[in-house]
Amino acid sequence: MNVRIDDRLLKNDSEVRRVGVAISVDHVSRAFDINGRPLAVLHDISLDITAGEFVVIVGASGCGKSTLLRLIAGLDMPNAGAVFVGGSKVVGPGLDRGIVFQDHRLLPWLTAEENVAAALIARGVPKAERLDVARRYLALVGLTGFETAYPSQLSGGMAQRAAIGRALANDPDVLLLDEPLGALDALTRLKLQNEIVRLSAKNPKTIVLVTHDIEEAVFFADRIVVMDAKPGRIRRIIPVDLPRPRDRSSPGFVALRSAVLDEFIDETH
């Protein structure tokens, strides 16, 4: 109901969107076959995300957040509607989008630097150069000294840092983060939240992040997208106009956090 149709959206046949809209999700639906019966997971989702915007998606578990992110990543295709990134229709994965999964998904047979370097393979970058770039990005995410460590030798937080480094290594326009900090302990999560803010300030990107942590959503977001389940829809979009860097204990922050929480609790009724 509350889906905002952006008036900058240029509707024409050429499927080109106006500059400034980095990601456009256009009347997207996705259903999965469960034992021969279709299960509607996303129903008629539309969402425009401006270049440089930080959008956070929250919603109950199973409401289709990961599915939506995978559609933007091009790892999955919608049954109806389309996704546009940088003006062109998404038909598959692309190096203009970096993705971080909830489980770090580092390849266990590669070292940290080899994992990050793997992001540059498809572009045909020679190995030595790949490793150079990889080391730079490992330094950026604070993993200097762990270049040759294997994923099994890294803590959860370190592995997730490396996964973020891998997603950044192609310098993509769009960063997609699917509950990247969900599996970490509270202290590590706090540290990495600050780290993500630092990284996004240093090198602004369009970021879509999924989380179930309301405080994290308010801490990061320019806009918070609250989703409903069964089938997944956008329930409400909450703009967050708090100044950056954000102070978690400021009255504005606290007030907004409880407002979003109310919205979230409503949803489960």
Partner: protein, 253 residues
């Protein structure tokens, strides 16, 4: 190191006690010493055959057959596992037959193989090839099929080509299973070379045992049993080292 030695020490306890008991039993004439010859006599026989060079040439003959048969059957099994694991249509055509055939113990093929291939070298190589084919075929097929879709998705997200996904994700992920299959294949090959040589051969460890049996030289038979076990262990330890190197990453911290 000391710990490793003490484990070896404990492991050696049983054979030492067993052999001592056997030696005493044989010398005290508790048993028919023509059949249960004492270990000391077996040992003397081993030394004798080693010094004459016969034992070495037996080992070399058997080992050559194992290597040729393993390379033939093993590489065929490997190719089957890879192609069927990567392509559903190939799997649909070949896998049902494969799974039926692999239930048949290789020993059960021997009479048929003798009829088909005679008593020559071909018979033994064929037997070993069959023995080597199935373990590596099965493990490669399973290894390739069971590569986590999560890792393949990482490759897709990084825009890997199909070839890059195979070479950089499926291959390393399946390698531990493939190496394990190769190890089983080699070990089966060694068992089956002895069996095939017992049935029809003029050289090799198996033939030496059959020769000993016919001349009622039980010490020679025991020598064959011992050498077979030791060679099998040696091969397994060597390949296990390689297999472990390939699968080091699977040992999660």
């Amino acid at each position: 190191m000391a710990r490793a030695l003490s484990i070896v020490g404990i492991g050696a306890l049983l054979p030492v006690v067993g052999l001592s008991f056997w030696e005493i039993a044989a010398r005290a004439q508790w048993t028919q010493s023509q059949i249960l010859v004492p270990p000391s006599a077996v040992f003397a026989t081993i030394v004798e055959f080693w010094q004459s060079g016969e034992l070495l040439s037996d080992i070399v003959a058997s080992t050559c057959r194992v290597l040729i048969g393993f390379l033939l059957g093993g590489s065929l099994g490997f190719v089957f596992g890879i192609t069927a694991g990567l392509d559903r249509r190939v799997e649909a055509i070949f896998a049902p037959t494969f799974h039926v055939l692999r239930q048949i113990p290789v020993i059960a093929w021997l009479p048929l193989l003798v009829l088909l291939a005679g008593f020559g070298e071909g018979f033994k190589i064929l037997t070993i090839s069959i023995a080597a084919f199935f373990p590596i075929g099965l493990n490669t097929l399973d290894g390739v099929k069971n590569v986590s879709s999560k890792y393949i998705e990482v490759g897709r997200a990084l825009c890997f080509s199909r070839r890059q996904i195979i070479a950089r994700i499926i291959w390393p992920a399946a390698l531990p299973a493939i190496m394990n299959g190769a190890r089983l294949s080699l070990s089966r090959s060694w068992m089956l070379v002895v069996a095939a040589e017992l049935v029809a051969s003029t050289t090799g460890i198996g033939h030496r045992m059959d020769w000993g049996r016919q001349l009622f030289q039980i010490d020679v038979v025991f020598m064959g049993v011992l050498v077979t076990g030791c060679m099998g262990l040696l091969i397994d330890v060597a390949v296990r080292g390689l297999a472990r190197r390939a699968s080091r990453w699977t040992e999660q911290a």
